[in-house]
């Protein structure tokens, strides 16, 4: 089993943290995980992505070769994966931020639009876009348990922020499951 997730967006959306948390939860569940990252020179804005690979055996090459899942949270990120190869790859994009029609591509069924940012705003925590995305991704990897994710979040966030993030995580998982 080798499952490759790419979280892609722009600096400041927390995509790298989403990858880290997913990796931590995977390791907690006894899996192997690697995370690599690519970012530009500016701390905010600019294309950022992280490759998260989960496997039940030693991971040799830590970069994504055949992604199973891409979560694109900004148009700049989405454009890079518009011509992704492989039927097995699902591309979930933030349909609230990315106007597919204006880009002018006709997308096949591998592409799924979810208004992730809008949902985060509705949940009352606009900054939890990355945790929502984490939940979506986690729902595709059956060996990662909800408990492991919750424990990972509880070690990352302060008590004040934890509740909102668990809520976002649960919502993400619910969204993800609906796509399975």
């Amino acid at each position: 089993m080798r499952y490759e997730v790419i979280f892609a967006g722009i600096g400041g959306q927390g995509v790298i943290l989403a990858g880290t948390l997913l990796g931590e939860a995977a390791v907690r569940c006894g899996l192997k995980a690697t995370q690599t990252q690519a970012y530009g020179v500016s701390a905010r804005g600019g294309f950022t992505k992280t490759d998260l690979i989960v496997s039940d055996e030693e991971i040799l090459y830590p970069y994504s070769l055949n992604p199973n899942l891409i979560i694109a949270l900004a148009e700049e990120a989405f454009m890079r994966y518009i011509d992704v190869n492989g039927d097995a790859c699902k591309v979930i994009y933030d349909s609230g931020l990315i106007d597919v029609k204006s880009i002018g591509f006709s997308l096949d069924k591998r592409f799924v639009g979810v208004p992730i940012t809008n949902i985060a705003v509705e949940l009352g925590s606009p900054r939890s876009v990355n945790i929502l995305s984490l939940g979506i991704a986690a729902s595709f990897i059956k060996d990662i348990s909800f408990d492991a994710l919750r424990e990972t979040l509880s070690e990352t966030f302060s008590a004040n922020a934890l509740e909102k993030n668990i809520e976002a995580l649960s919502k993400g998982i619910e969204l993800g499951r609906s796509m399975l």
Binding site: G23, K32, T34, T36, A38, L60, Y63, L65
Partner: protein, 379 residues
């Protein structure tokens, strides 16, 4: 300290390993992609009574590291290409004055500012030859987060054993790689401390070597007066222009590493004996090489991987031995061909040697290595 497992960055593991090795002083100047090491050191060192100094530049950073080591602390710095270039003169000082210290270079794309956030392994020859004057040098290169932890401890141990600077040639792909790392328990780790002269010895000479060619080292403030010298010096630590004394010193500095190669050199190897082809690689490129070898195996090609954990001094004899009977060698590295030259020198044209190279700031991929292998197979 008990054993812990953490999903962590290579750069973070370097800090954990350095602390485990006994480092209590870091001086540096932040630079991408090494800055997490400075950040980690600034958090952790004061907690254990150590010191983090953010210096005005890399010249000051390595100088302060040398000072702290002379003062009696295990000391290290971390930088990337531009800073590594600035440090070269004083790395030479650490060689000449025989001051143990560890310099981490998390390599990035160059020349000059280059692609500041993107990986490369193009400082390998600078590591070997970046300073003026004859000398040998020790350089290690990690290929995983676990090796960041384990090998940085080796780096400190080697520095202490041989009273010399040790270069830790990481790269962005490893420094910014997050994976599971076993932070070993203190009891499970071997720690070496610098050799000191007996307190009751009279007439201590700061640069009089023992049989292992390494002079015992004392910190100032104790019974013995210490002298450290950047100029060519005699055993008393006084400058000399005698050709005999100069020859003796330069050869000893060189020999104390070259004659101990067997003890210094570490490597890992995968399927090298039964293979027809060999990948000789190091650092971040190892991961792509091992993936390529695994992919080739599925296609029925027998490919072994030699991972150089110690790049300098170069494992000439070992590679010569492994190369015997091989049909081809590929040297994957994220540069336009640096270590390949050393491999070619070893095999002297008896085995075809091809590079798998990249200089665009992207990590080397298994496909590129497979392509290079294809080239050597078709010869």
């Amino acid at each position: 300290m008990i054993e812990r497992r953490r999903f962590m960055l290579g750069n973070e593991a370097i800090v954990e390993g350095a602390l485990m090795a006994g480092a209590r002083f870091f001086a540096g100047y932040p630079i991408t992609p090494s800055s997490e090491i400075a950040e980690g050191a600034s958090r952790k060192l004061p907690q254990v009574g150590g010191y983090y100094l953010q210096m005005e530049d890399e010249l000051a950073s390595i100088a302060a590291v040398i000072g702290a080591s002379i003062g009696g602390l295990k000391a290290f710095t971390a930088t990337s290409g531009p800073g590594f270039s600035l440090m070269q003169e004083n790395i030479g000082l650490a060689v000449m004055a025989e001051v143990p210290c560890v310099i981490v270079d998390v390599q990035r794309s160059g020349p000059s500012t280059g692609l500041a956030t993107r990986p490369a392994q193009a400082d390998m020859m600078q590591a070997r030859w970046g300073r003026h004057g004859d000398q040998s040098i020790i350089a290690l290169s990690p290929s995983s987060v676990q090796e960041c932890f384990d090998l940085i401890i080796c780096a400190f141990n080697l520095a202490e054993t041989y009273r010399c600077p040790v270069l830790f040639m990481a790269d962005e792909t490893v420094g910014h790689l997050r994976e599971d790392c076993l932070l070993r328990a203190e009891a499970d780790v071997e720690i070496v401390n610098r050799k000191r002269p007996p307190e009751d010895v009279d007439g201590y000479l700061p640069y009089k070597p023992d049989d292992d060619l390494v002079p015992p080292m004392v910190a100032p403030g104790g019974k013995h007066l210490t002298r450290f010298h950047s100029s060519t010096h005699n055993e008393k630590g006084l400058p000399t222009s005698s050709p005999e004394e100069a020859d003796k010193l330069v050869r000893r500095l060189y020999d104390k590493i070259e004659k101990n190669k067997d003890r210094i050199i570490k490597y890992k190897q995968y399927d090298v004996d039964e293979s027809e082809y060999l990948l000789v690689t190091f650092g971040g490129a190892v991961r792509a090489a091992r993936q390529a070898a695994a992919d080739m195996k599925k296609q029925g090609l027998k490919v072994g991987v030699l991972e150089l954990q110690t790049v300098w001094p170069f494992p000439t004899e070992h590679i010569a031995e492994l190369a015997k009977g091989k049909r081809g060698i590929v040297v994957p590295e994220m540069n336009l061909g640096q270590i390949i030259g050393e491999v070619k020198k070893v095999v002297c044209g008896k085995v075809p040697v091809v590079g798998a190279n990249r200089c665009d700031g992207e990590p080397l991929s298994p496909q590129e290595i497979a392509k290079a292998l294809g080239e050597v197979v078709s010869r």
